[in-house]
């Protein structure tokens, strides 16, 4: 079970990194969502070996570690808030620069830097 859970964590993480490295901002945002998901899974995977039953709870049966559950909850909520902010930023960037591609944004940034340097040189 350890192996399977960590394989899933690694896979989600790898997919996330792969998407973050892409050239388009929407997919970059998706990548961060995947990375968040992988970390939540890792936190909760700590409780897999001694977990309770999914549906029926009776007195004296094992329960899934509540500390890990609350940590995972916190992580999910924060991840959501940050992803929402990121998506809105993507939207804003598109409005401001008229592009969703990071290379275009970089070109614009370099142009601005060079213009500023020229202004300074004068």
């Amino acid at each position: 079970m350890n192996l399977i859970a960590s394989l899933a964590v690694g896979l989600l993480f790898a997919c996330g990194v792969r998407m973050v490295l892409e050239r388009e901002l929407v997919r970059v945002a998706c990548g961060t969502v995947l990375i968040t998901n992988s970390s939540v899974l890792l936190i909760l995977a700590g409780s897999f070996p001694e977990r309770g039953e999914a549906l029926s709870v009776e007195q004296g049966w094992p329960v899934t570690d509540p500390v890990l559950q609350s940590l995972a909850l916190t992580a999910i909520v924060i991840g959501f808030a940050v992803s929402a902010l990121l998506l809105t930023l993507v939207h804003r960037t598109q409005r401001a620069h008229g592009s969703l591609r990071t290379d275009r944004l970089v070109e614009a940034e370099l142009k601005r830097v060079h213009a500023a340097e020229k202004g300074e040189g004068r």
């Binding site: 899933a8 792969r18 050239r23 999914a54 509540p66 916190t74 598109q94």
Partner: protein
């Protein structure tokens, strides 16, 4: 506790002066001077109590404590820093308004300047009083930082800024080397407390590497070859700074360090021989440059390099006179610097070739600076005589070659001091307006001190002996008196005077040739190396920046890949036997495995998703599958929240897609379908590292869990839902933080969406 009194008073000076300056600009200097005199008084009172130590626990579990000492060395240097500091602050009261007016800056900046000078004084007093390797480094860096601010005080002037940066880089870099040495010693001896280190080093001498590191830090501070070139450049600072930092305080710190750490250096003859050679080279180089330099502050700067060369020679020889030498040099050099500043203010000139004949208009200044010059060149009836006496005494014990070198050095000193004084005050009469009294009075006070020490040398004996004893760790038998006989010291002194007078008399014959030679050699000096290094570093950083900015993906990858490699490296150095456990998969786990497989498949599919809507659906598919995993793992709260969050998120995402123009999305989509090979590699490295690290972590879970105890405790919290109890009670502060993040993000989202227009 009395040990801390002078430090606390010195620390209070800068804020007090600042407050006084807010009330009335002119009051800051008087307040500061009063404070430093009070600190000096406290020091004198404490002197009567005898030596002492104070140890305050800092982080006892790490064996760290704040240690202070009051011995001869710290007393002598504190008195020097406080006394000269008070005079320099008063002097700046008269000097700065004129200077600020010339720079076109508001008059209230004077308060800032005096505050910095006083802060520097406090840092210096701290440096000489601490008795701990780490605190030594901290105080050393404090002086470096404040000196940067002081040298670059004329911030509009590029030359001044460059000089400040040079001194920061050079003294900062060398003090990092010092830190390396201090760490090596501290780790080797298991303590940073200086007396303990010295005690343990008595049986087990310190390693040469550590000593060399310590020495490099000291040499950088004291502007010795090959780190000397920052000092002449630092003359761009206002004159009070040069007078204080570059005579009595900052450059003295380096030699002070060597004296404080002398017991460590005593057995290492190799290192001491190296220091000896550096001292002689600095002496010769500084003296020769001082003979030809034209701006008079530069003459004094080169002279400082040479004089600290003398002090370095004395330390390297282990002479008892080393602390005394520095203490006598300080007032002489400070007085000459202050004279230079006064002359510049009165005449507006900065070069020897442009002034002269001022002795008629500025008689008091000429007289006082003549005393200071006589002190610097060790003429009798001034305290300076004794600094050369101890110097010659130390050399005479080593043999004729050393004596000859000392004789030439002292002769050169007399020659350049005569040249400086004569250049300022001698020659055909020139009339200038009188200097303000406050500009002249500090010079006169310093000159009075120098004369007093020369007439009554008995006064110098006690502090000099105490300092020598603190340096060498054994009682000192230093004697200071005039002897009218033909002993080696006297013969050498007379020889030096004759040589100096001859050199001065014949100066027209050799000055042009010497300046040409020195100009030629200075082209290949370490300063050139420094410039080249700076230029190359600048180029490298520009290149890296361009490289990094060129593509955002490389920037992300440059974080992800090293992190992944670091994770793998951690696994590489840990023992791998029994590190990874596959774990068991029972029938009960099948549902879990299926949900995990579903999530993984959806994640993989996102990579190939065409069209953004499909991408959104696949992402939410990953989220929902994970919610399923959480549900099967019997974490209903997590699962419910997850479902809720995923639903909201999917709706939000879909709404965003509606806001984005479809043709842009189309374009972006087409571009994104061309992945690069190195992106795959980066993702592979990061994923593999995450996989192995989490596998290793999951294989070694603690047997007894906090969770079990939490379940018990939840009953006391009157909450049947343990997770709710943890969230709202046991980890309530976490939840508050979480809420803050959510609210901040929400505010960000709404304000970003509300913005109209392109920007």
């Amino acid at each position: 506790m009395p040990i801390l009194l002078p430090i606390l008073l010195a620390l209070a000076c800068a804020p007090l002066a600042y407050v006084a300056g807010r009330w009335r600009t002119g009051a800051a200097a008087w307040m500061g001077a009063l404070g430093s005199l009070a600190a000096l008084g406290a020091l004198a009172w404490e002197w009567t109590l005898g030596p002492g130590r104070l140890v305050l626990p800092w982080a006892p579990s790490w064996g760290l404590s704040l240690e202070f000492t009051r011995d001869g060395l710290s007393g002598l240097y504190s008195a020097m820093a406080l006394g000269v500091g008070a005079l320099v602050v008063l002097y700046s009261r008269a000097y700065m308004p004129h200077h600020l007016h010339e720079e076109g800056r508001p008059a209230r900046d004077e308060v800032r300047f005096q505050g910095l000078i006083l802060a520097f004084m406090a840092a210096m007093v701290l440096l000489v009083t601490v008795d701990d390797l780490l605190l030594l480094f901290v105080a050393l860096d404090l002086t470096t930082i404040i000196s940067y601010l002081l040298i670059g005080f004329d911030r509009e002037d590029p030359e001044s800024r460059a000089a400040a940066l040079l001194s920061l880089v050079l003294t900062g870099a060398t003090s990092v080397v010092f830190f390396a040495g201090a760490m090596t010693l501290g780790l080797h001896y298991g303590t940073f407390s200086l007396p303990l280190v010295i005690e343990r080093a008595a049986h087990d001498p310190a390693s040469t590497g550590a000593l060399v590191c310590l020495a490099v830090g000291a040499l950088g501070k004291s502007a010795q070859v090959p780190f000397h070139f920052w000092l002449p450049r630092a003359m761009a600072a206002p004159t009070p700074v040069s007078s204080y930092l570059h005579s009595a305080a900052m450059v003295a710190a380096g030699v002070f360090l060597l004296q404080r750490l002398y017991p460590l250096f005593a057995p290492a003859t190799g290192v001491r021989d190296g220091l000896l050679a550096i001292g002689f080279v600095s002496m010769g180089m500084g003296s020769l440059m001082a003979l030809v330099a034209d701006p008079f502050k530069r003459v004094l700067a080169y002279s400082t390099i040479a004089q600290y060369g003398y002090a370095l020679v004395l330390v390297a020889l282990g002479s008892e006179g080393a602390p005394l030498y520095v203490a006598i040099h300080a007032p002489c050099k400070a007085a000459l610097f202050l004279t230079a500043g006064a002359v510049t203010q009165v005449t507006g000139k900065k070069k020897l070739s442009e002034v002269g004949g001022l002795r008629h208009s500025l008689p008091v200044l000429a007289g006082a600076s003549a005393v200071a010059a006589a002190g610097l060149s060790a003429l009798p009836l001034t305290a300076g005589f004794f600094k050369d006496e101890v110097f010659f005494h130390a050399l005479a014990q080593r043999g004729p070659a050393f004596m000859a070198a000392g004789l030439v050095g002292a002769g050169l000193t007399l020659a350049y001091t005569l040249r400086l004084w004569w250049g300022l005050f001698g020659g055909p009469r020139r009339d200038v307006p009188a200097a303000p009294r406050l500009l002249v009075a500090p010079v006169a006070v310093l000159a009075g001190t120098i004369l007093l020490g020369g007439v009554l040398p008995g006064l110098l004996v006690a502090p000099a002996r105490a300092a020598a004893a603190a340096m060498r760790g054994e009682p000192s038998t230093l004697e200071l008196a005039y002897h009218l006989d033909a002993r080696a010291e006297n013969l050498l002194a007379v020889g030096a005077w004759v040589l100096g007078a001859l050199l001065f008399a014949t100066r027209r014959a050799w000055t042009p040739a010497l300046s040409r030679v020195l100009e030629g050699t200075s082209r290949f000096g370490p300063e050139r190396g420094y410039r080249l290094l700076l230029h190359l570093l600048d180029r490298l950083s520009t290149w890296l920046h361009e490289k990094e900015v060129r593509d955002l993906r490389d920037r992300v990858a440059s974080v992800m890949v090293p992190t992944g490699l670091l994770g793998l490296a951690v696994l590489g150095v840990t023992p791998l036997r029994d590190r990874f456990k596959v774990g068991t998969v029972g029938w009960a786990d099948v549902t879990l495995v299926m949900a995990l497989a579903f999530a993984s498949a959806a994640a993989l599919a996102t990579l190939r998703a065409k069209g953004h809507l499909r991408l959104v659906l696949l992402i939410s598919c990953v989220g929902f599958s994970l919610a399923m995993v959480f549900a099967f793992a019997a974490a209903p709260d997590v699962a419910l929240t997850s479902v809720l969050v995923e639903t909201t998120f999917t709706l939000l995402f879909a709404g965003l897609l509606a806001l984005l123009p479809p043709d842009r999305l189309q374009h972006a989509q087409e571009e994104a379908q061309k992945p690069r090979g190195r992106d795959r590699l980066a993702a592979g490295v990061a994923g593999a590292s995450a996989f192995l690290l989490s596998w290793s972590a999951l294989s070694h879970l603690q047997a007894d869990r906090v969770g079990a105890r939490t379940v018990e405790l939840a009953k006391a919290a009157h909450s049947p839902n343990v997770v709710a109890a943890v969230l709202t009670d046991f980890r309530g502060l976490d939840t508050v933080g979480e809420m803050t993040v959510v609210v901040a993000a929400l505010l960000g989202v709404t304000s970003l969406l509300r913005l109209k227009g392109r920007r």
